[in-house]
Subunit: 476 residues, 2 copies
Amino acid sequence: MNQPARNYHMELETFRRHGHAAVDWVVDYLKNVEQYPVLSRVKPGGIRAQLPEHPPQQGESFERMLADVQNIILPGITHWQSPNFFAFFPGNSSPPAILGEIISAGLGVQGMLWATSPACTELETHVLDWLVEMLGLPERFSSKSRGGGVIQHSASDATLCALLAARERCTKGESNHKGGNGRLVAYASAHAHSSLEKDCRIAGIGSDNLRLIAVDENFAMRPAALEAQIEKDLAAGLTPFFVMACVGTTSSLALDPVRAVADVCRKHGLWLHVDAAMAGTAGLCPEFRFIHDGVEDADSYVFNPHKWMFTNFDCTAFFVADRQALIGTLSILPEYLRNQASEAGAVIDYRDWHVPLGRRFRALKLWFVIRHYGVEGLQFHIREHVRLAQAFKQWVRESRQFELVVDCPLNLICFRHRDGDAATERVHKAVNESGAMYLTHTKLNDRYTLRMNIGQTRTEERHVQMAWERLSEAAK
Amino acid sequence: MNQPARNYHMELETFRRHGHAAVDWVVDYLKNVEQYPVLSRVKPGGIRAQLPEHPPQQGESFERMLADVQNIILPGITHWQSPNFFAFFPGNSSPPAILGEIISAGLGVQGMLWATSPACTELETHVLDWLVEMLGLPERFSSKSRGGGVIQHSASDATLCALLAARERCTKGESNHKGGNGRLVAYASAHAHSSLEKDCRIAGIGSDNLRLIAVDENFAMRPAALEAQIEKDLAAGLTPFFVMACVGTTSSLALDPVRAVADVCRKHGLWLHVDAAMAGTAGLCPEFRFIHDGVEDADSYVFNPHKWMFTNFDCTAFFVADRQALIGTLSILPEYLRNQASEAGAVIDYRDWHVPLGRRFRALKLWFVIRHYGVEGLQFHIREHVRLAQAFKQWVRESRQFELVVDCPLNLICFRHRDGDAATERVHKAVNESGAMYLTHTKLNDRYTLRMNIGQTRTEERHVQMAWERLSEAAK
């Protein structure tokens, strides 16, 4: 054989130089992010029109790529890292999380089995045990019990796994072999996230078998209505098996009464999954742990450090009280994955805890975030966001133009124009188009409602004040 | 309100300094990676034992974290980026991909809807169209047709989506509403990846309804056996709906005869999904495109740039010929996700193309990889890997100790000791424990078989030669 004359890899010293330039670009971006219109102003097709139709035959320089990021990509970005981003949910990054992503990308490991990088698995288990302690979650979600935590891609994926584990337990594994029977019934509040319906479709439960339970005046699930529906389904010969309680609904951050829901679940032997996707992070502060009242009876729990906890996407923390139910559906062991450590049963193989086989080293960034901020720093910022949201709520209450739709104790304020939907929509359009801020809407009691979600990493008092001024100005 | 006295964020200039240090750490890691034992030598629990039991109350310095990465984490790493990694599949990273990850982490956008960062969606569509051209895939997988491509988390996730789209088409959407009926039947070769069985469980098809079809002497699916099984199932009143053909099985890189399988699918109206997870990348080179013969009749196709194409995990490229079938199951539109661009129908909302709602900007790294290497550079390295694997195959053929198990035209060579399984296992254990290289095994015809998978970014001739010498030495 003859050694080839050359290769096309980037020399490592060249990579060092470009790596520094990429970091510098990110630092500059974060310094300037407040100046950009939050919601991108490009028109459909506007980005593609600037890209070459065909892939390059010869390689190009990184300088050209970085220039294209600046000139072509940046105008097509909606700035989730802007302190004036109040839309959907905070999709936070932070410097320590980005540092974790850099190291993780450099190591480039697959943590599918313990053996394929023991540190990837053990750091993950360890940091998720830390989260149990940090959020005051029940010990049954810790790896020291029969349960444990795992990092998943998204809350949609985690809730799918909760459904599968519940299905496994209810049918004693039969559904894995025989497929769906169209008779398992799942329950959640009418305000639960749409991903649950999607997950019911995916898992072969069927969306007709998802019961959306009536809510009270605060948009929280009515446990009596839940129980009545379960009894009705039982009477019809169906098999209730799964309830999802929301600790913070998407529309209005309504808090389902987890304890009362748990009582119903226990009575009827149903799996209780708790979706605390954004709001769970508030559990870092003891004064907000009332949101988790009753969680000690849940079978599974999910929240997203990649939302309000300064950790880059993807980083969903999913906990189960009984890992066997989860693994029962998701573990299949072909010969090419067999290895000594797994056979001995002494280790966790996270590939059995979710849908994908491959998995990158996501625990690093979470470890860095917790270590950089410390519990104290995380608490400080969560408290600060809640303080700002509560101030905003008070401004709405005192306003002659706006009215509060629901009284949220955390960081999502739902409000609307007193003059009705058309006025609210007009205000919404005006502030988003101004570029100075971005917020999204929902419908509550069939009324167009604005959602002011305060939780972006760099949002400070001045941003919330300015947002209020813009909203008030637009409402005139 | 009073402005708080301080915050806990990392100052951006401090972040710049640490970012450079993180890049330097990665550069040094990649310079030294060849020196480390490829397979980590830590014992179960060895990493956790070095970590503090409780999370830190106060923040810590990045210097300490980086020192812990070096001292605690690194010994627990199995080095997927070592040029002596020949195990499982190549899980490649490369400098341009890491640069893409840095920029993506800095931007921290969610591309769930077009509007939430138009550039994230449009660059993805564009680069996936490039891949169609680069691999010589049929035009029906391009966004200019009724189909298109999307980046998914893993091939397991993508194949799950293919199953769902097939289920949607076969039941005209009924399975979404009613749940599984236990009568849909899926087919794949007995050597298909275990993720398909997992996906059948997840999707409520049931593993009893997955038929594993007999293979020929090269471990490729027998189309006649497939057709016979379909007819048997039809006669039994079941509903065949999905066939997966493997372009490169996990065990031995066997190539199912896609064209013949496609003929059977067309005749019976079944969805054909093609799993080319690793081997698809070979399609970059015209001389290897025979692997894709017949793919023009497939309904969906998946391959992983995050395996052999130098792009950091996660980056699975999934293509469908009819996007409506996919979206039919996965699209649910609640009020809080409504927006003008989506309502107008002028844009792609990728949240409807997979399970999760959230999605990070993964197209950037793929764009950077294609632009850095150019088509020419990618072809060069794929050809080089295949050349090295074919040389290795020849050494096995000429060996007195080893024998070739199957004749692979690409980059995975399956071989075993002539003295039987015990001897093969002994060699396997010896070379992995030496730390000098890492390869994994499978069983073929019930015999313990070593898999030498040559495709790591930095693997050169000298690494393959040294591996052969070690294997030969251990075999004595």
